[in-house]
Every structure is written in C-alpha cells, then in structure tokens.
Amino acid sequence: MMPRFWPMFRKEFIQMRRDRLTLGIMIGIPVLQLLLFGFAIQTDVKNIPTVVVDESRTPASRDIVAAFQNTGNFRIVAYVNSRAELNRAIEASEAQAGIIVPEDYPRNLARGLTATVQVVVDASDPLSSQSALAAAAGVAQSRNLAILSAAARRPALPVETRVRPRYNPGLRSAVFIVPGLVGVILTITLILVTAMAIVRERERGTLEQLIVTPIQKTELMLGKIAPYVGVGLVQMSLVLIIGRFVFDVPLTGNVLLLYCLSLIFIVASLSLGLFVSTLVKTQQQAMQVSFFFVLPNILLSGFMFPRAAMPEVFQWIGAALPLTHFLKVLRGILLRGVGMEALWPETLILLGFAVGLIGLAVRRFHKTLD
C-alpha cells in the first residue's frame, strides 16, 4: 500500500527540519499567542476609571460611593464638583464612568422615598460599560434588600438564588480562552503551512520533475502533510503545558482521548490547506486565501463569542468550520472532563471533514502542468 508515501514523507521531513525560520515561527506563534490571549484579554472588566460628583456630601452619600468602589468594577480616579466637570472627564477619556449622588439623596432615603443615584458610562466600549451597568444595578439591589428587610423586621431573605459556576468557579477568562486557543493556533498555522506546500513546488519548478514520476496523487498529498501532523501535536502540547502551569487551566478529562481526537482535527486542517494549495497559482495567493479563513474561524467558531447569540445564518457558517466542532471537544475534555459518550457527534463530524477535504484536495490536483 502506497510504497511512495515514505520517500515523500522523508523528503518533506528533511525540508521542514532545514527550514529553521518556518519551524521557529510555528513553535513561536503558539507561545506568543498564548501569552497575549492569556494575559491581555480579560472579558470580565475590573477597575473602570470613575469620577464622582457628590452633591450632598453626607455620610449616606459617602456610604453609597464606597459600595460602588467595593464591587471592584469601579476605580475612583477623581472627585469633581459639577456634572459639567464629570462630562468633561468622560469626554477626555480620563474616566469611563461617572457616579452622581444628588443633593436630595440622603433626604429621600430618610423619608422613605426613592433615592436616586445616577451612573453615567461611556458605552462606546460595550464590554466595559456592560459590566459597569451590571455592577451598578447590583449595588442598588443589595441596598434595597438591606433596607427592606430591616423595615420588615425580617432579617432572613425571602428568596435567594445560589449560583454555582461549575467547571470554571473563578469565572476566569483564561480557563475559557486557553483550550480554544489550541484549536485556533492549529487552524491558522497548519492551513497556512500546507497552503504553501504545492504552490511552492510549482513556483520553484520542482513539481514538474515530481509529476513525471509514477507517484500517485494520494501518496504525494499524504506524504506532504504527514510531517506537519507532528508539528501540530508539538504546538498543542506547548499550549496545554503553558496553559496548565502559567494560567492554571485544568486538564480534567482523558488527555489520551484529547490527543486522538486532535489528530483527526489536525489532519482536517492540513487537508484544508492542501485544498487551498490546489486552488491558487502563487505562494502569495496562498497566503491571502489562508488569511481569509482566519477571521471567520476566530469570530464564528465560538472561540470568543457565543454562537447561540449569532443570527442563524452565521451559526450555519460556523458549523461549516472544523474548528467549531473541535472547540466543543477541547472544552468538553479539558474543562468538563467528558468522554466519547458525549463527544461522538463531534468526532464523526471531524472525521467527515478530514476524509472529505483530503478527497477534495486529491480530486482537485492534477498530475499535469495545466
């Protein structure tokens, strides 16, 4: 079976090993991206710079401002004297939120009327404004409960929801991001590297010499991608190890199962790259087409944004990306510790992608020059 696969594999392996720059990039990218995503990207926004106008200057007003500060979401950078100054501070981007305690706040509170505190946020950044708004609502709610239960002389709360965030009790972004990053890094680097594979030989003139031999298309294709399966596994291990020891991302489930399923995904990504390689004429085009794949993979796969929130059309596009299904595998095994019993649909889909894409690439490739 496929006697010419091994010479092809050996040749590709030697060439890959000699191309130190590409190899360095393939190992460097995962480390760099992991550090960037792991450290820089925080979806739970803390310490929003905030200015305060305290028009009443009473213990009650100082008390409510302290309550805002205690949430951790607001970091008070200045106390100003007027609403105009507050607006200026937000316009000048010195602050992203403002808290206004009106003069009548303590009086209304004492009389049992609704005492109002105004919170202004710069909503041009929806992520931080949302967490500011949620925190602000929370402050009012806990105040209300305290006052009402005191008035009713009934200290115990009538109803309480106890929330238990499973699998990521600290609600840390890194726990969510790092497993997904394994898939994103594999997708981007592996598609790019194999998209170049055939056009590079075409451009250098070595393809012509290769296709006058009796080598079969399948032998050529599989021999080309096989060495990069190893690269993919190394990349994945790097991210998992750094994720575990630097970002404290758990490895809950069966790691062996994870590697087996990753192997299928790696082959699917490499085959997609190979398919791209049969569509384009130059290495430059190959690069452009590969980058065309990057954005949908990051945006629509569920890597950062939940797919359930997307319009149906985009959910369908997302479902056409191998990464979408692999992310379920990654998070399922790493965070929730599930096994094959939960992941067989994804496994079948990934297998379908791998086989289908190799088939497509082999069909598209012709052993002729035109």
Binding site: R4, P7, K11, I14, T206, Q209, P214, T368, L369
Partner: protein, 244 residues
C-alpha cells in the same frame, strides 16, 4: 519490425487561440538519439511535455514505449526519464538525499536501491559531492545530478529539454559522451537544443517551426532540405523565415 519508442500521429496542442503544436507526425526508433531543433516558441517543449504526460494533447495520439499518452500516462511514467528546461531538483536537499528520494519514488526495489543509486553515482562521477546541498552546486554538476535522478529506474526513453543550457563547453562534451553511452545500451533519447554542435551529434533531427515539423532526417539531410550549406545556415534561414 519492432515498434518505435516514440510515435506521434497528428499530435496537436492549443493554448487558447495559440496552436503550440500542429498535427505533428513523428517516429523515433529504439536506441536512437533524436534531436528537436527550432527557435524559441516553435513547440519543442510543448511536444516533450505532451510525450511525458505533463500536458494533455488537444487532439491526435502519441505512444511512448508502447503506451498511449492519453490513456496510460502512469505506465509511461514508469518507463521514461525527464530533465526539464528549468532545474527541477530540491535545492535544500543534498545530492545523496535527492537521489534517494527519486530512487524511492521510482520504486527501485528496496534491496536493489542502494546498489542502483551507487551505480548511477559512479556512472556520473557524483561520488565527491554526495553531502553537498544542491543549491550550492554549479550548473554542470546540477545537470549531472538531474540526469542521474532521471536514470535511476533505467528508463527506456529519456526526454531532455535543453539539458545543456547554462553549462560550460567541457561539461557539455562530457554530457554528450554520457548520452551516447546510454543510446548504445539501447536507451532512446529525445533531446531539444539550441546548439549546432549538439545537433550535429544526433542520429536524426527534427526541425520545428511554429508548431510543426518542417524537416526530418540526419543532420546533413536536414541542412540540405532547408537549403543551407551547414546546419547552422539552415537554422538561421529557418529563423528568418519564422520571423517574417
């Protein structure tokens, strides 16, 4: 009567509007060194590429080593050696790695592989260069290596597309001695060239112009046919005709 090693009937290839090769009829008997001579763009490379299965003929038929180019390209590929105009081996592999790679691809049996590779190394004198990266070889050495890679599977027919472009005169002479040795052992050689001294060394020549064959015969016959005293005169007359 044995079948010709290469035979074409009304072989034609178009690229859009352009007819690169027009109704070519050619027969090259086994063991002959046959030269295709003609100006750039006369269809020599396209002809060779069709015979090697790299381009599909638009119409007409051709057989190589007894197999049809359109129907059994893979049978042909096992039996031919090919040197393209542009050097086609891997610059980032060593001489030995390139030879091993092609020995593997041509399925030169595992046990025999080492022996056959060594035979070729000895035949072409590549022994001192085995560990050198191909990218750092001079034109003459690259050409020897390319020929060596094409000989590993003992092909019945050898296609050489301007094999001596960019090679110095001494190396060219050595190269042709090798070609003659191969032909004497029964290999059929189809070679394209620009050099008159090389054309003179062929058993027979085919003169091509604008996609068709305008003269076929021994070098002397071809020169006479076109109406020049020497082959070079014939070539220049042809080129002038072509430019008009």
């Amino acid at each position: 009567m044995t079948q010709p090693a290469v035979e074409t009937r009304q072989l034609t290839r178009r690229f859009g509007e352009l007819v690169a090769v027009k109704a070519l009829d050619l027969a090259v008997p086994q063991g002959e060194v046959f030269g295709l001579l003609g100006p750039n763009g006369s269809g020599k490379t396209t002809t060779i590429r069709m015979l090697c299965g790299l381009l599909e003929p638009t119409s007409g038929t051709a057989t190589v080593a007894g197999f049809d180019v359109a129907r059994e390209p893979d049978r042909i590929k096992e039996r031919i050696g090919y040197m393209s105009q542009k050097f086609g081996l891997y610059d980032d592999l060593t001489v030995a790695e390139n030879l091993d790679f092609y020995a593997g691809i041509y399925g030169v049996g595992n046990g025999a592989r080492h022996g056959r590779v060594n035979e070729v190394i000895g035949f072409l004198g590549l022994g001192g260069r085995l560990e050198q990266l191909v990218g750092t070889l001079s034109g003459g050495w690259k050409q020897r290596l390319a020929l060596g890679s094409a000989l590993l599977h003992k092909p019945a027919v050898l296609f050489l597309d301007e094999p001596t472009a960019g090679v110095d005169p001494a190396a060219r002479r050595g190269f042709w001695r090798t070609i003659k040795t191969l032909a004497e052992a029964g290999t059929t050689v189809l070679v394209t060239t620009h050099y008159m001294d090389e054309a003179e060394r062929c058993d027979r020549l085919g003169l091509m112009s604008r996609g068709h064959l305008i003269a076929v015969g021994t070098p002397a016959e071809v020169a006479a046919h076109v109406g020049g005293a020497t082959l070079e005169d014939a070539f220049i007359i042809l080129q002038e005709r072509d430019e008009r």
